[in-house]
Amino acid sequence: MSAPRPIGVLRTTLVLMRKDLLIEWRTRARLNALVFFAMATLLLFSFALGPDTRLLERNAGGYLWLAILFASVLSLGESFRVEAENACLDGVRLAPSDARAIFLSKALGNTALLVALGVLLIPVMVALFGVKIVLGLGDLGLTLVLGCLALSAPGTVYSAIASNARARDVLLPLLLFPLIVPSLLAAAKATTLVLQGDPMHQLGSWFGLLSGFNLIYWGLGFLLFPKVIED
């Protein structure tokens, strides 16, 4: 029997990410809906909080991250719904592929999706709330990437759990929201600093904090995810 060499964790991750990307591309209507959902959320904040432009401007960073957070709940749920259809996750598992590669592919894929969403939302935020980007776009980009990484790793673990439980639509936010408070806080704070200037040079420490959270969340996810999806 011709036995091809088993592929490693990294290559498996890449194959799975490529597959997910292809599915996203072929169902881009779903993706568009997600973008408009997030934009509508941003818009609703300005309605809910009234026309006080100063208030909106001051809190723009927080609104941006709330919009990303709400969208992430949808995208995380979707990424395991795709695998649940026809038990595809079993097919991947039995191929066999390393469960850790499944975690990495889903978490990285979600990060990429959320970063892309953030990139689309930032101009909308600038227009809606009248903010100026005082520090560079580079800092804003770094904030976005670090924040989305910190949402995606625990989100992937919890989404895999919730997708198999009853009441999964309620369960995912219930599990995820308290958990990501620190990331959300740090990301929103860093964004605010980027938008309004950083006279006391605090941005670096917020980046450090976010990186630390990421290290812990990604480490835990990498270690624990196999337990979640194997019977």
């Binding site: 309620v170 369960l171 599990l175 979640v228």
Partner: protein
């Protein structure tokens, strides 16, 4: 064992609670600044301590379960999360009542309070997960994973909130505890400890009974402990 748990320990808890309440309310002097309000400390602080103790136990059970699955560990994890949540809620409520006359508000975004609140929500999620998963093995594994992540998150929340708050000035009053306040606090703490052990043990026995009922069939089917993977069958079914 059973007598100690069902008779002696609850009795000890009641006696200590009464003694702690008496010492706290009548024996200890009122606080120099806060007056009688401060007496709530004798119940607030022990409640929070017990919550932390129970949730630490939950973390230990979660880690243990992943390495060595057993229904006992899972039952203890469930019991400790529930009891921890109970004491934590009591502690936060008492703290909030204490806060109203002291700070003028029920709630403030103090790192400790914020962390406590987030922690409580996280363990509500943990218990919800346990209700929503029917398969006992899956429930045990998943809740262990969630328990570990939630526990690791507690210090992270603490740090992030502290940094967040440090940008605003928060007045912090170093608490100098009068030696006369130590005794009632200590008695109260032991009372809560006894109470917690009673709750924990009872809840554990219920959880274990539930697990055993879930995993057993009327007919003598294999040992249901997931740890015992090795089959030791007496009667074999012949093909």
């Amino acid at each position: 064992m059973g007598k100690l748990l069902h008779r002696v320990l609850p009795g000890v808890a009641v006696v200590l609670l009464v003694a702690g309440a008496y010492l706290g309310l009548f024996w200890a002097p009122p606080d120099r600044e806060m007056g009688d309000v401060q007496r709530i400390m004798y119940v607030h602080v022990p409640a929070v301590w017990m919550a932390l103790l129970a949730l630490t136990l939950n973390f230990c059970c979660s880690v243990t379960y992943l390495f060595k699955p057993s229904w006992k560990t899972d039952a203890m994890a469930e019991a400790s999360a529930e009891v921890g949540l109970l004491f934590g809620t009591v502690g936060v409520l008492l703290g909030s009542i204490w806060g109203r006359p002291t700070w003028g508000v029920y709630w403030t975004w103090d790192p400790r309070i914020t962390t406590a609140a987030i922690m409580l929500v996280a363990y509500v999620g943990y218990l919800a997960l346990r209700r929503f998963v029917e398969d006992p093995e899956k429930r045990a594994v998943w809740s262990a994973v969630v328990g570990i992540i939630a526990a690791v998150d507690v210090p992270i929340v603490w740090f992030s909130v502290r940094w967040w708050r440090s940008l605003h000035q928060v007045q912090s009053s170093p608490k100098t505890v009068d030696p006369l306040m130590v005794l009632p606090l200590r008695v109260s703490a032991f009372a809560f400890l006894a109470l917690m052990i009673v709750f924990l043990a009872r809840r554990y026995l219920i959880a274990l009974a539930e697990r055993n009922a879930e995993v057993a069939l009327p007919e003598a089917l294999p040992s249901d402990d997931p740890a015992t993977r090795g089959g030791s069958g007496a009667s074999k079914v012949v093909a």
